[in-house]
């Protein structure tokens, strides 16, 4: 049921590799804390790799939106990488697909931060 986060740096971009479920409770809180931690450490270019996210509910969608707005309001950028079809469908239904900058290739995503 839980979500795991691994953090790495590539070319000045902080990549959070997320796995598991982003749902009300533990998953959403873990994501919120991870993004806050990255920003607190002075990074404001964040790439969320959702390739191993098996499930997301409305709370998780809300947490992605909050992470996006928090980063943007701080003058940074947050992009999404490797969406599963299920997550992609959810973002389309909720009309968030065009709000986020979504990439399906890590190198392309990294390059997009530096455009």
């Amino acid at each position: 049921m839980s979500m795991k986060v691994k953090t790495r740096q590539v070319d000045g971009i902080t990549i959070l590799d997320l796995s598991g479920r982003i749902t009300l409770g533990e998953g959403s809180v873990t994501l919120r804390d991870a993004v806050r931690d990255v920003i607190a450490k002075g990074s404001n270019k964040i790439l969320l790799n959702l390739g191993d996210i098996s499930y997301i509910d409305s709370s998780g969608i809300g947490e992605l939106v909050s992470a996006f707005t928090t980063t943007k309001n701080g003058g940074g950028e947050l992009k999404l990488l490797n969406l599963t079809k299920k997550v992609q469908d959810l973002l389309q239904i909720t009309k968030l697909y065009t709000v986020f900058d979504i990439k399906d290739d890590e190198a392309t995503a990294i390059a997009a931060f530096n455009e």
Partner: protein
Amino acid sequence: MADSTTSRESLTLDSSLASVNRVEQVAEDYAQRAGFDEDEVPNIAMAVREATINAVVHGNAYDAAKHITASFETTAEAIVIRIADQGPGLDPDTVPDPLAPENILRGSGRGIFLIRAFMDEVNFRQLHPGTELTLTKRRTPAKTGT
């Protein structure tokens, strides 16, 4: 008139996240047994999860003295799930549209929208106190009788 119900189950649970996960799991199992396909089952389970979150978080506000009930029913035509809480009541007309430009970046408020997106019918009933949501997903004709 004969009762067309083929299966029925009811749960009474406390107002906790564990209950949300339990009801979601039962919904998934029920939908699978009812013959819904691999695309429909997760959507039904998610709609039920969102309805249960509403009951636990917004209805009962995690109050240990209040319970939620979840009932599952399959018939030849549909799966019908009812989720009820003992909270102050919910008027669905007061829920903001999450697709409106002024709401699109809100960090919450998409649960009822997703329930409606994934189910064929969603009805709200006031229980005084509490709210009952009835979620219906009809079988497609090809699946009738499976």
